[in-house]
């Protein structure tokens, strides 16, 4: 088969190109694409902000900027990923308000002191919104009702311990009322429930309810900002209504603590230029994201202040997230049921065993199961190798070994398929789809 030799020849060419591409690193920063890590799902406000700053900042850096979503655990997963990234400036974290809350809430030992801020991009206040059909026209009426019906008023939020939840907790304390806080999987879910009148109010940002306010489906009772919002000139602030509460989220870019000064300088300049482009400002306005710029030093001061105030708020005060005792109830229920079913199965098997008095037929094929075990071990080794010697070598090694182990003996086929697969996967994932693979080399 001459075509196979020809094919493998063709496969070599992109591989060589790829290798030469790797060789020419080590010039000035940034010499390769930068990645912004977002600790929230694609489609949310933080994600939108990251994607538009990435788009507009790629020109000043002269590099592509990718966005990587690592959602989960109310942002805890992404933030810890960002903090543990290599401090070379190529992984930039989009930090949000929630970063301040993990340590005081006892979730993990990570706070703003683990990051070096670059720029702040955004600031959005919290707001209390009710359904348009509800009787409450002002914040005072709403709070009076809440005081009279302690614990009966439900307030939806975007997730336990998230910034809007804390806003509602602060309000509760200041107004001397008691709400039932209902956490949802994101602000959109909470707003949908309010639209269906399943909640009395939601505590989310004005941007997340704006369209329903314009349609007249919902009514915003007040924003926790220092001044009225330009999009909502009719809605008073909390201060105007006699409650001294300013609360909101902020978002900005940061890098791990050990990142060198020179790199931080370059990042600050580049992202500032991105921030100032009309395109970014326009996108932010359309997505209703409040713009707020602070440079690295100002952002650092601000973060220290925020961290301090959140710590004070959440530790040693009665302002804790009331946890029910039912956290372990479901796992326990499932565990018990699992145990019961297992017990029944064991009894049944034992009875059958006694009846027929012979071992089940599955046990007989131990030699072939050994091959499955070998395959399992091979995969574990492959997985581990991929992160030590890199994608290219480990995949080649794995494929060639596996082909030979499974009885393939033609060198032509082995080389074609292993090289072809390595390159095809690289091209499809990395080049076309831009999905990061593990590092090419160790």
């Amino acid at each position: 088969m001459p075509s196979i030799r020809f094919l493998s020849g063709i496969c070599i060419i992109p591989l060589l190109l790829l290798l030469s591409g790797c060789a020419e690193q080590k010039s000035t920063f940034p010499a390769k694409p930068i990645t912004i890590v977002v600790s929230w799902d694609a489609g949310g406000g933080t994600d939108a902000l990251a994607r538009s700053i990435a788009l507009e900042s790629s020109a000043p850096f002269g590099q592509v900027i990718n966005v990587l979503n690592r959602p989960g655990g109310a942002g805890a997963v992404g933030h810890s990923f960002g903090a543990m990234a290599r401090p070379d400036g190529y992984t930039v974290m989009m930090i949000t308000y929630e970063l301040c809350t993990y340590a005081p809430l006892g979730r993990m030992k990570l706070d703003t002191s683990h990051f070096r801020p670059i720029v702040q991009l955004n600031e959005d206040p919290a707001a209390i919104t009710v359904h348009a059909d509800s009787p409450w026209q002002t914040l005072e009426q709403f709070l009076q009702h809440a005081r009279a019906h302690s614990g009966q008023v439900t307030i939806g939020n975007s997730g336990p311990g998230a910034v809007w939840h804390i806003g509602a907790l602060k309000l509760e304390k200041l107004a001397n009322a008691r709400f039932t806080h209902v956490p949802h999987n994101g602000a959109k879910d909470a707003v949908t429930q309010l639209l269906g009148k399943h909640l009395d109010a939601v505590a989310v940002s004005p941007a997340e309810v704006l369209q329903y306010l314009q349609l007249g489906n919902l009514r915003c009772l007040g924003v926790m900002a220092e001044a009225r919002m330009p999009q909502l000139p009719e809605t008073p602030t909390f201060r105007e209504q006699g409650i001294d509460l300013v609360h909101g989220t902020w978002r900005g870019l940061a890098v791990p603590l050990d990142t060198p000064d020179s790199v931080v300088q370059v990042l600050q300049t580049g992202f500032t230029q991105g921030f100032e482009t009309p395109a970014f400002q326009e996108t932010a306005e359309k997505a209703m994201l409040g713009l707020r710029y602070r440079n690295a030093d100002q952002f650092l001061d601000f973060l220290n202040q925020e961290q301090h105030s959140v710590n004070e708020l959440l530790t040693g005060s009665d302002l804790v997230i009331r946890s029910g005792n039912d956290v372990q109830r479901m796992p326990r229920l499932y565990g018990t049921l699992l145990f019961l079913c297992g017990l029944i199965l064991a009894i049944r098997t034992w009875k059958n065993f006694k009846k027929t008095n012979k071992t089940p037929p599955e046990q007989s094929s131990s030699t072939s199961q050994k091959m499955a075990l070998t395959a399992f071990c091979g995969l574990v080794v492959y997985g581990a190798l991929m992160f030590t010697i890199g994608y290219l070598l480990s995949t080649l090694l794995f494929l060639v070994t596996a082909f030979v182990y499974l009885g393939e003996r033609q060198p032509g086929r082995i080389s074609t398929f292993s090289l072809g697969a390595v390159i095809l996967i690289y091209v499809v994932f990395k080049t076309i789809l831009d999905v990061p693979l593990p590092q090419l080399w160790g």
């Binding site: 694609a42 489609g43 949310g44 994600d47 990435a54 788009l55 979503n69 690592r70 989960g72 655990g73 109310a74 805890a76 979730r107 009966q152 997730g159 311990g161 039932t180 956490p183 959109k188 879910d189 949908t192 429930q193 639209l195 269906g196 399943h198 314009q214 349609l215 997505a287 956290v327 372990q328 479901m330 699992l338 079913c341 029944i344 199965l345 049944r348 599955e362 094929s365 072939s368 499955a372 395959a375 995969l379 574990v380 492959y382 991929m386 794995f398 494929l399 596996a402 082909f403 499974l406 393939e408 398929f417 697969a421 996967i425 789809l433 831009d434 999905v435 990061p436 693979l437 593990p438």
Partner: protein
């Protein structure tokens, strides 16, 4: 009327059609690769469409193409190599892969393609004509209703258990238990995380899927080395006859309607729709014992349901500005960045975007169908590839897929570990699909139950006095009773085989 026609004609603009076709082809590829999901495809291409300066119609054409293509593409690998490309395809695998093993993979794909097309068609017509009614129905769903829906879904564990209900239940409770790992949804307290932040977001669904199906299948194939070199003796490349397909018309219609309705609920998507479609087909079938052994209805029903659900998910997005699932959440954001606010005003102010979107969904299904049918004959030949070549390639693709979903080494080992679990389960006759179902529905059941119990008027009676949740719970109880009652017949048959 005339403006409506002009707006519809706008959707047929050649440049949009080209974008749509590109999206469909790219989507099928993304869907077919394990680990790359529709959500990921749409998210990745969103900034791209914005960066190219596409009009809202252009970018929607491409994104809808990817969405529809990816949801369909997941089934190709599910049917051919027992690796569901997207979670929604896990139900198709149950009857699709047995057909491939019999050498009738081509037929299976053809059925999946046609079912997907019809589901999409029905879904689109419902989207066009019944959107306001369905979205109002969706708004009635609160925590008690979603809890009841999850329980109804979990009652399916009995019917997808194969021969042995007890083993199915064990797999199901194991899955439910796995689903509780991570930060709990109401208080945010870590559960079973052992201080590892990777576990905070829970055990990844895709890595488990890859492990239970792809790796377990590889291990099983390797351990049966005798069947290695002539896997399939005769390859049947003929298309199913029209008459044969028409016999299943009730499955097509039922699943499409069910799928669209479930898709239209803001809290339920394609994956749940596919399993419900499968289960209802089995319930109404005259031969429920053939399910799991390559019954065409077991392919048609989940395919029609999940395809209907893609159109259904657009309903709350377009009418309320509320996403129907994760993919439409990303699309919604894209529309907002383009300066359009989905919701009731969209129909009044931006009809020039709304009507082309209808056209795109319809045509995306047509393109998917044509592409699918044209490539069937070639794809079905995959079984002719020598297993000593195919299996290592599946392994590499699965490892990369498990990594790519969250870029985490941890997930790779979760997948490999679940592969060992899945292989063990196969050896001892435990079904894998209850785990998948439990992972989809477990978090939904728990968070909504606890949320419902927080309500001031809470109590067990709440779930039965609210009409929708009451009906769903009664259905779930009937479904469990029916399953246990019907089961002995199938069990004797299974033990005979």
């Amino acid at each position: 009327m005339e403006t409506i026609l002009t707006n519809i004609a706008l959707g047929f603009d050649p440049s949009y059609l080209l974008l749509l076709l590109t999206g469909v082809l790219g989507g099928i590829m993304i869907g077919a690769l394990p680990g790359l999901t529709a959500t990921m495809g749409v998210t990745l291409l969103m900034p791209f469409t914005l960066g190219m300066g596409l009009s809202p119609q252009g970018s929607m054409a491409m994104l809808i193409g990817i969405y529809v293509g990816a949801i369909y593409g997941g089934s190709i690998t599910a049917i051919l190599i027992a690796t569901p490309g997207t979670p929604a395809s896990a139900a198709t695998l149950l009857d699709g892969y047995p057909l491939t093993q019999r050498g009738e993979g081509g037929k299976a794909i053809a059925w999946a393609t046609v079912a997907s097309f019809i589901g999409g068609l029905v879904g689109t017509f419902i989207l066009i004509f019944l959107s306001p009614q369905l979205s109002r129905f969706g708004l009635q769903f609160s925590s008690p209703e979603y809890f009841a829906l999850a329980v109804f879904g979990l009652s399916m564990i009995i019917s997808i258990s194969g021969g042995d209900v007890l083993k199915g239940l064990i797999a199901g409770f194991f899955g439910l238990f796995l689903a509780t790992i991570g930060l709990d949804p109401i208080n945010g307290t870590p559960r079973f995380c052992f201080g590892r932040v990777e576990l905070y977001e829970g055990i990844g669904f895709i890595p488990v899927l890859i492990g239970l199906y792809a790796f377990a299948q590889v291990f099983e194939d390797i351990s049966q080395k005798t069947a290695f070199h002539s896997p399939v003796t005769k390859l049947n490349l003929s298309f199913p006859a029209l008459k044969e397909t028409l016999r299943y018309w009730s499955s097509f219609v039922r699943s499409s309607l069910l799928g669209t309705t479930i898709g239209a609920l803001p809290g339920a998507g394609c994956d749940i729709a596919a399993f419900v479609g499968y289960n209802e087909a089995k319930r109404f079938s005259k031969h429920p014992e053939q399910f799991g052994h390559g019954n065409p209805e077991g392919i048609i029903s989940p395919e029609a349901a999940k395809s209907g659900a893609t159109a259904g998910a657009m309903i709350p997005m377009m009418t309320l500005g509320v996403p129907g699932d994760a993919v439409t959440a990303v699309m919604l954001n894209g529309l907002i960045i383009q300066g359009l606010q989905p919701g009731p005003l969209l129909f009044r102010d931006h009809a020039e975007v709304v009507y082309p979107i209808f056209v795109f969904i319809l045509l995306a299904n047509v393109f998917t169908c044509v592409t699918g049918l044209l490539s069937t004959r070639w794809l079905a030949r995959i079984v002719l590839i020598n297993k000593s070549i195919l299996l290592p390639l599946i392994c590499v693709l699965s490892v990369i897929g498990a990594y790519a979903i969250r870029f985490s080494l941890f997930d790779v080992f979760v997948a490999i570990g679940m592969g060992a679990v899945g292989y063990g389960m196969r050896c001892w006759g435990f079904p894998a699909s209850p785990i998948v179902l439990a992972l989809i529905l477990g978090p939904m059941a728990e968070s909504n139950l606890r949320r419902a119990l927080m309500l001031p008027e809470a109590g067990i009676s709440l779930f039965f006095t609210r009409p929708i949740s009451g009906v769903l719970l009664v259905l779930a109880i009937v479904s469990i009773a029916w399953g246990l009652f019907r089961q002995p017949k199938t069990r004797t048959r299974a033990s005979v085989e």
